[in-house]
């Protein structure tokens, strides 16, 4: 077990190196001079330009630039600074809470809605609620996030006035619509997953045994059927949480939430390589850590899994 964790942690190193290298290369390959773009229409003296280029290692060959950057990340957790001289670490500290809140609210919404809908659909199989869930989940999975976001803004924000349409100034309320938007696809998938797993499990021999042991129906379903059918659901929810930061790019832009996703989008447009790479590295670390936790959790839930 400990050896397994250590091995998985060591795997992080190449994953992070390769993913940051790719992102760095992509930003490096973008056409145009970021310093000139920074200055905009105002004139900039060659001396200032040279100093800035020197400061951001822009004249070094690509691999040297990358190495200097990644060295800072690994030795001092220093993600560099923006062209305005602001440390990327500051930026992350300021914007992370917004994205983390969004991810957490989304996580809670999709877990509860998806699992509850899936369980009820399985228990009322082929009845009205089941059919409703089937249709609703297909719709949720098929519709693009953008469309769902706009519909929610229109109906719940503008027409009904229940939730703020954009911005993060109303506490948790600001996060409801963005979280619903981000949760829609996964809620649909999760509901279907739980429904299918529970139906399979209710047909299984060990559930039949539980009935034959004289257990109450509620216990047969809850303690024996559900316990087993939720294992794949946990894996899915975990993997989804891990990739949620990527999803935040679109949703934070639609709902104008000042989080990391919105920042990445702006920084790509501004060719601020250090910011993009910094935030993406954070996303990658988050992704691999959550995945490790999910794998370990899986072993706790299913004793048949062995780590070697």
């Amino acid at each position: 077990m400990t050896r397994y964790i250590i091995r998985r942690l060591l795997q992080f190193v190449p994953v992070i190196l390769i993913s940051t290298l790719i992102v760095y290369a992509l930003v490096f390959a973008m056409p145009g001079d970021p310093i000139r773009a920074l200055a905009g229409d105002r004139p900039m003296s060659d001396a200032v330009r040279e100093t800035l280029r020197e400061q951001y290692n822009l004249d070094d060959p690509f691999f040297i630039q990358y190495f200097k950057y990644i060295w800072g990340v690994f030795t001092a957790l220093d993600f560099g600074s923006t062209f305005n001289g602001r440390p990327v670490n500051d930026l992350i500290t300021q914007r992370l809470p917004v994205t983390a809140t969004l991810a957490l609210v989304t996580f809670v919404i999709q877990s509860i809605m998806g699992i509850v809908a899936g369980i009820l659909a399985a228990l009322y199989r082929d009845r009205f609620f089941d059919r409703f869930v089937q249709v609703a989940t297909v719709t949720m999975v098929a519709l693009p996030t953008l469309v769902i976001g706009f519909v929610l803004q229109l109906v719940f924000g503008l027409n009904l006035g229940l939730f703020p349409i954009a911005g993060a100034n109303d506490g948790l309320m600001s996060y409801i619509l963005p979280a619903l938007t981000m949760a829609s696809v996964s809620t649909g998938i999760l509901a279907r997953l739980v429904r299918g797993e529970l139906l399979d499990s209710l047909k299984s021999d060990y559930v039949r045994t539980a009935t034959a042991k004289g257990m109450k129906r509620t216990r047969v379903i809850g303690r024996h059927g559900l316990r087993n059918s939720l294992i794949p659901a946990v894996t899915f929810i975990g993997a989804d949480l891990a990739s949620m930061l990527g999803g935040s790019i679109i949703v934070e832009t639609i709902f104008n939430l000042p989080g990391l996703g919105q920042q990445v989008f702006a920084s790509i447009q501004g060719q601020e390589g250090t910011v993009v790479v910094g935030i993406v590295t954070l996303f990658v670390i988050f992704f691999v850590v959550i995945n490790l936790i999910v794998d370990l959790l899986y072993g706790l839930l299913d004793p048949r899994i062995r780590y070697e």
């Binding site: 009935t211 004289g214 109450k216």
Partner: protein, 367 residues
């Protein structure tokens, strides 16, 4: 109020032992499938007394397991449907009983062992927990107390190091040990009736004997009525008191074990017994009953066995034989049961050379 009435009903004049432990009367079970209504059980009758072992013998699809599931009340409904009949436990009809009352009998008074212990045990719960659950739910014991009882049960069924192994999961045990755990769970609450559905089919031959020995010992210890469902004639001969031979959802023949093996009164039973390979046979082909059991959605008219029976006549093809007495305690559902029993029945058809079915003797070319 009704409960006390039913329990006192047997009191005057009769000894309590006279009420059978379990009595199945004219049971009909069908399944609704896309191909039509499939008649899994067609008028099944049998009785079981305390301390008695009844073997229900039959091929796949003969309705053995459906019988067990119907008695336990774990039949999948739908597609299954109990179309008629009674199952009386100590005189009370299980089929009309309130679900809550029936649930308390299930596992407590009537328990079941399944064929495949690996899939029948919950894969993500420790075995000790699964046994202890019986004590916790039926007896309301606390977790610790129930665990102590569970370990005792594991010791009783011969699991070495029961104390340490109670925390292990089903996949960590060998097949024989897993079946012992199933047995421990089934007998935990000292049931009156134990139904064992192919309990040794999934096990190695050496382990089979040990598990059957254990079942037999436990039966004697607790004076249980044991229903042993199997297709294995060897297992039956060792442990059964009575045998009911099932075919197409009916009992074809029922008698005590010596009668059946010594003087079978039904051509189907004869065929089954003849198909046992014998150690003194010198090579040659294995004998099999020609043809296949009928489809349950499309039963032949008359006797369900007539297309495969070497004694079949026109009467067998039109009139369904009822189960009747051919000798003391020996029932057979064959029009010619007496002749079959006496070994004087006339052969009317022989297996076709392909072995796929029967051809009438009159059409055979004279030699």
């Amino acid at each position: 109020m009704t409960e006390s009435q039913t329990s006192t009903r047997t009191a005057p004049g009769t000894r309590p032992g006279d009420t059978p432990l379990l009595e199945v009367k004219d049971l009909h079970v069908e399944f609704r499938t896309k191909a039509g209504v499939s008649q899994a059980i067609n008028g099944l009758n049998f009785t079981l007394h305390a301390g008695e072992t009844l073997a229900i013998l039959g091929e796949s699809g003969s309705g053995k397991s459906v019988t067990a599931q119907t008695i336990m009340g774990i039949l999948d409904v739908p597609p299954g449907r109990i179309a008629g009949g009674e199952i009386r436990y100590r005189g009370d009809d299980l089929l009309t009983m309130k679900e809550e009352a029936r649930r308390k009998l299930r596992g407590g008074k009537i328990a079941m062992i399944f064929q495949d212990a690996l899939s029948s045990l919950n894969p993500v719960m420790p075995v000790g927990w699964q046994i202890a659950e019986m004590f916790r739910i039926h007896r309301g014991m606390k977790r610790k107390e129930a665990r102590v009882k569970a370990v005792e049960m594991m010791e009783r069924v011969g699991i070495p190091g029961a104390e340490e192994r109670a925390g292990d999961y089903p996949h960590q045990f060998s097949g024989g040990m897993r079946q012992r755990i199933m047995i421990a769970m089934a007998i935990a609450l000292d049931p009156d009736v134990l139904i064992a559905d192919e309990p040794t089919t999934a096990l190695d031959v050496t382990v089979q004997a040990q598990v059957m020995r254990l079942l037999k010992d436990l039966q004697n210890e607790f004076n249980m009525g044991l229903i042993l469902i199997t297709h294995d004639l060897g297992v039956v001969a060792d442990v059964a008191d009575k045998i009911a031979v099932m075919y197409s959802g009916r009992v074809m023949e029922a008698a005590d074990v010596y009668e059946i093996y010594g003087k079978p009164g039904h051509p189907y039973t004869q065929g089954l017994l003849a198909s046992i390979p014998r150690i003194d046979d010198e090579g040659g082909r294995l004998r099999a009953i020609p043809g296949l059991p009928p489809s349950l959605t499309d039963m032949p008219s008359g006797c369900p066995f007539n297309p495969r029976c070497e004694f079949a006549t026109d009467r067998c093809r039109t009139e369904r034989p009822e189960l009747r007495l051919v000798a003391e305690g020996h029932l057979s559902a064959c029009h010619y049961a007496e002749d079959v029993y006496a070994g004087t029945a006339t052969v009317t058809q022989r297996p076709s050379p392909t072995g796929a079915g029967m051809i009438p003797i009159s059409e055979e070319a004279p030699e």
